[in-house]
């Protein structure tokens, strides 16, 4: 029941918001209450998993591997927790950011449906069910992209849906192949069947298709085009939600499926992952250098950061997986925050185009400090969270004697600093260009309530970043336990299949 709660709460909230879609003020509060309830449920789930190890629930009472299993090990539970944190942050920010028009068109319903899909993907123990949650996410995110209604939104959404549909089709084909070859789709069951058969054409083919599908969802090179095409078009609230969670579900699926079911250490899979991840890091950061809008720059940085997480899986040593998981947590918090602060900058200056803004350091120094925390963390400056994440990845690649990977990771880190300092120089230090709203002082002022709603989530997320940075110990330990669950999933398998573990 506790497992299903993380899915049922956002789903029930979605239904309520859909019923209340004509009463924007009530729907807004219901949505916020749903996000808080999700956060509480996710904390309870994490506590349970920390105390008793992986837990599983059989939907409809059908025993695994015949029914659909929901299962949470530490990685899943932590991902759900961070989903809850982001959900609350985004809901609070949305109080002052989402327009009435978007609310009337179902912003809250779609957001909650998206959260249900994300939590479902994190919690399911079944390959086909994972596909279903991906679809739920895709449909909800498509809706969120178009409710703004402009031409740019529709243009972004078409590219987004186009590539994602291809990925989904590959996912479904891979799942079909896997089922044909093994006769089961329960991940714990597959864990007992697939190893040793990984050189069979059907299994390797399924692995390749799933790798493509998850890679596209995670925006890996060369299938990342949908992300920069779409992420800067919707409201800031929505793009922060997307930036925090959507690609990370792809990374989570890679981590889960390519440790539990397939073996990422298989030479051909590992080669693809390593090369793909390094190119993803490099291409993302180079793409960002060419951009001039804040959210566009940040979108390309998501891609580059995805490379770091996948590299953690690709190196496939225990330390590297710990690094990947640590990176995943740190990145969700930092990236959501950067999008929220990017929105704040746009609110204070009237634009998010770097050519049209400036002078913020003089006008709002505290906003500058607030921006620097996640920005420097993203670039990997000590003592912020990103430093530890990058350190783990680089150390793991050096230990595995993959010096090129380590070099790429370090150079990309440097280039990330370049991008962040570009935003810093243009938005904060430069004088506001003449004639723009920022220079003439015609930017619409924010009320006190709106300022509080916009600032609080950014402050809270920045505080999390600083805490992870100053006390990485507990988080590192947790990542280590989560990685242990992934590498030796005995407890996971026992939780799902009962005592009869292989």
């Amino acid at each position: 029941m506790m497992l299903a709660a993380a899915i049922l709460i956002p789903m029930a909230t979605a239904v309520l918001c859909l019923m209340l879609r004509r009463r924007a003020a009530v729907a807004r509060l219901v949505s916020l209450a749903g996000a808080v309830a999700l956060l509480i449920a996710s904390v309870l789930l994490l506590v349970t998993v920390l105390q008793g190890g992986p837990v599983a629930a059989q939907m409809g009472g059908w025993p695994a591997p015949f029914g659909i299993t929901l299962v949470a090990d530490l990685l899943s539970a932590a991902m759900v927790l961070i989903t809850g944190i982001v959900a609350v942050a985004v809901a609070v920010y949305g109080l002052a950011d989402v327009t009435r028009n978007e609310e009337r068109r179902g912003h809250h319903t779609l957001t909650q449906a998206l959260l249900a899909g994300v939590c479902g993907a994190f919690l399911t123990g079944d390959m086909f069910n994972l596909y279903v949650w991906f679809e739920v996410m895709l449909i909800a995110s498509f809706g969120l992209l178009v409710i703004g209604g402009g031409k740019a939104q529709i243009d972004g959404a078409v590219k987004y849906v186009g590539l994602n549909l291809i990925a989904t089709l590959a996912f479904l084909t891979g799942v079909g192949l896997l089922y044909g070859a093994t006769g089961t789709l329960n991940m714990a069951d597959l864990h007992g069947i697939v190893p040793g058969r990984q050189d069979e054409v059907a299994i390797l083919g399924a692995a390749a298709l799933l790798l493509f599908a998850f890679g596209a969802k995670a925006a890996m090179f060369p299938v990342f085009f949908w992300l920069p095409a779409a992420y800067h078009t919707p409201s800031v609230t929505t793009s922060a939600l997307f930036a925090a969670l959507l690609t990370k579900v792809g990374v989570y699926a890679l981590l889960r499926v390519f440790t539990l079911v397939f073996d990422a250490g298989h030479p051909s899979i590992q080669a693809v992952l390593l090369v793909g991840a390094c190119l993803t890091m490099a291409v993302g950061v180079l793409g960002a250098a060419a951009q001039n809008g804040i959210r566009r720059i940040l979108s390309f940085h998501i891609i580059s950061q995805i490379g770091y997480m996948v590299v953690g899986l690709a190196i496939y040593t225990p330390l590297a997986i710990v690094g990947g998981i640590f990176y995943l947590f740190h990145h969700i918090v930092v990236k959501a925050n950067l999008f929220l602060i990017g929105g704040l900058i746009a609110r204070r200056t009237g634009s998010e185009d770097l050519d049209r803004i400036g002078g913020l350091w003089a006008a709002r120094p505290w906003l500058g400090v607030l921006f620097l925390i996640p920005a420097l963390s993203l670039a990997g400056i000590p003592p912020l969270s990103g430093f530890w994440a990058k350190l783990l990845i680089v150390q793991a690649s050096l230990e595995a004697e993959l010096y090129i990977v380590a070099a790429v990771a370090l150079v990309v880190g440097l280039l990330t600093i370049f991008s962040m300092s570009k935003i810093w120089l243009e938005a904060f230090w430069k004088e506001a260009p003449a004639g723009t709203p920022a220079a003439t002082g015609t930017v619409p002022a924010l009320g006190a309530a709106a300022t509080a709603a916009l600032l609080t989530p950014a402050l809270a997320l920045a505080a999390i970043t600083v805490v992870i940075g100053l006390m990485p110990g507990p988080f590192f330990d947790a990542a280590q336990v989560a990685a242990d669950h992934l590498v030796t999933p005995d407890a996971y398998v026992r939780a799902v299949l009962g005592g009869a573990s292989p």
């Binding site: 029941m1 299903a4 049922l8 789903m11 029930a12 979605a14 239904v15 859909l18 019923m19 879609r21 629930a57 059989q58 939907m59 409809g60 009472g61 009337r104 068109r105 179902g106 178009v146 409710i147 209604g149 402009g150 031409k151 529709i154």
Partner: protein, 180 residues
């Protein structure tokens, strides 16, 4: 659309399709069929009505706004899941309040319970979602065909001038269900 053949045929076909859709829904319990395909058949009936007699009439016949139908369906499915959780301890477990075990170990009674409620939910979601999209697209197409100088005031009245406006209005219609 003004076609005598279509209107006449629809009058016979639409009720037939609706009854058949319920049959498919119920049959789905143990045989091919179920809420999804039943919902699609029912949506076909409304599509026919909308083509033959206009969107306004089809909306009236559906009575509720399409998205409200979908929301009710999603709620019903959710309740079915919770019902199982409360009664049997497993989310989505089947609950059969009207079935009793007979003395000889068999079962008798009406197989109506949480599973049917779930299927009805799916049926409603499909009907609501398909009708919502279909009606809104039809209205957008009609609005585009209108002459611009017809334009009345207010949202939904008058012809949109640009593709942007058309898209805007289509989205609004999907959400609002033609409520002016």
């Amino acid at each position: 659309m003004n076609s005598l053949i279509l209107t006449t045929a629809t009058r016979a076909l639409a009720p037939l399709l609706l009854v058949f859709s319920v049959y498919i829904l119920l049959r789905g319990h143990n045989e091919p069929g179920g809420g999804f395909i039943g919902g699609l058949v029912a949506a076909t009936a409304f599509a026919l009505l909308e083509k033959a007699e206009g969107v306004a009439r089809a909306r009236r016949l559906l009575r509720l706004r399409p998205l409200t139908v979908a929301a009710l369906g999603l709620g019903a499915a959710l309740l079915a899941g919770l019902w199982g959780a409360v009664a049997k301890g497993h989310v989505l477990a089947g609950v059969w309040p009207l079935i009793e075990k007979t003395a000889d170990g068999g079962k008798s009674g009406l197989p109506v319970g949480s599973v049917l409620l779930f299927d009805v939910g799916v049926y409603l979601v499909v009907v609501g979602a398909v009708c919502g999209v279909l009606f809104a697209l039809e209205e957008a197409a009609t609005a585009l065909e209108c002459e611009p100088d017809e334009g009345g005031a207010g949202r939904g009245g008058g012809a949109p001038k640009t593709i942007d406006q058309t898209m805007d209005r289509t989205i609004d219609r999907t959400v609002d269900g033609g409520d002016r």
